[in-house]
Amino acid sequence: MSISIYKAPIAEGVQLVTRLLIDEFNIEPFHAETVATQEAKPHFDKYLDTCVIFAESGYVDRVFRDSYYHYYSSKLANYKRDCIRLSFFEGDLDLSRWRSSDYFNEVKSNYRGYMILRPVIPFIIGRSAISPKLLKDNNFQICSTTLQTSFNGTKLSVEAFPHSSQDTETISCAETTLWAIMEYFSNRYPDYTSVLPSKIHYTLNKITTERQIPSRGLSIPQLSFALREFGFGTRIYFRDEYNEDFDRLISTYIESGIPLIIGIDNFPTGTIGHAVICVGHENISNEQIDNLTAYTFSNIEIQNAIVAGGHAIYDYDAISKEFIFIDDNFPSYQKAELNNPTIHYMPSWHTCAIKHFIVPLYHKIYLEAVEVKNFVIKFLLLGPEPLSANSNLLIKTFLTSSRSFKDGLSLESEFDSNVKEIILGLSLPKFIWVSELSTKTLLKEKKAQGLIILDATEPNISFFKPLIFAAYNDFILTQKAIEGGIEKKVLPLPHFKCFINNLKAINYD
């Protein structure tokens, strides 16, 4: 059996998929055309007009093979085992020169990702990795990882977030989110491994009382359990408990570069329950920063301190913005606002709201966002060295690895050299919480004027134990090395560039 390669410009993408379904999957022409139009066209419509598609037949897809051997092969109907792989390039390729290393080096940078077509009608869109560079609208920043693949016998890589549509039988939206989350983390960090549909079912088998396939979806605790079994320290948040802080917590975790599983539903009035992954947000414009209003805290102690000090405190996470979702019912990188997450769906979905989210935290992160943000604001307002009167502060809080933070800082030329050496000389845990203290004016220049670093492995909040470092009001605070307590050094911190390594953007300077 030999592999055939088909080629077509993106404008003829639907015709190409139709022909592939007929030629390679033996689908009846009317069904093929209908499915190609309904399933593939919405994806292709988002891609650059200059894109060219190359399709390879006889592709062995590990995800579909897993579904095939654990489920489809047990049916009477004859399902094919092989898939088709579509590879996307920006601009045309001369395949006759592909074997020339000079030509390959010239065109490999034009590779924009792949998409698997599986032989399950109508759910033909399998896993995909699409570079945001392929999209007409890529004004956003996301968590992404480098995914390895090949085309025409040669290895290639693409920077993307994994996506797959559900086949509704072996993977529903819930299983798909688990697969994509693990695909992302396993490609990015050696602590995790990727999972296949059968592994998800096997993992959940011990807490499931009914059969698992055909899939009937998963509950949020089941999703959380599976992630915990796969090595995470998961946390679940419910909107009704956190009220106005709920959306801001989503923003904090996204700003930390952690993809979140989002639970959307319209219960009890409706019957829709859906899982998507939030992976980023649109690039923030100066206008959005200008429109940010001062934060009114529900905590009376904090609010009284703000009023008494004449402060104006802004929360970066309260900036009104669209978020980026990996939704298995839509193409990669779907934009939506948190308060209207299903606006792009049919009207019956418009009553859905984001009610829960699950955070796949590294298992040794013990201090979580809600406590960090509370600690930082209380420390600044009510701590032993409170803010100067009438302070105007925009606080951006995120989690990052100390390795990534130190790496970004060490080569940052605008950061004060003495303060930089003090921070680089600190013994830090694997993960730290960072609060950058900025203003609206400074943030427009992507700069800050103060910094607080907390130990993400220290949940004991007594006597400022999580505090590792703070710089504001022209002094820096650090923990005394052995005897405990806080040391104050008079050392101003000039404005510095904000940390930007958690999310990746295509066109954001």
Binding site: S172, C173, A174, R216, G217, L218, S219, I220, P221, L223, S224, R235, I236, Y237, F238, D240, E241, Y242, G263, D265, F267, I272, G273, H274, A275, N299, E301, N329, K355, H356, V370, E371, N374, F375, K378, F379, L382, G383, P384, E385, P386, N418, E421, I422, L424, G425, L426, I461, S462, F463, F464, L477, K480, G485, I486, E487, K488, K489, V490, L491
Partner: protein, 65 residues
Amino acid sequence: MIERINKSEEIRAELVREGKVSFLDQPEHNEAMLKLNEGLLEDRREFKVKEKNSFTAASKVILTS
């Protein structure tokens, strides 16, 4: 020759010479710290209730679509 390099210590020593290093161990600092401790622990009790309630609410939701 073995050389030990610690730039943080060098910077701190310089600041000590200039009289720019102190400790937050005065009565007003301790008072602020104790008050903050109390508030943070009270907040934590509230967060724990929210955590439990979040899990309970999540148990009733099945994601199928």
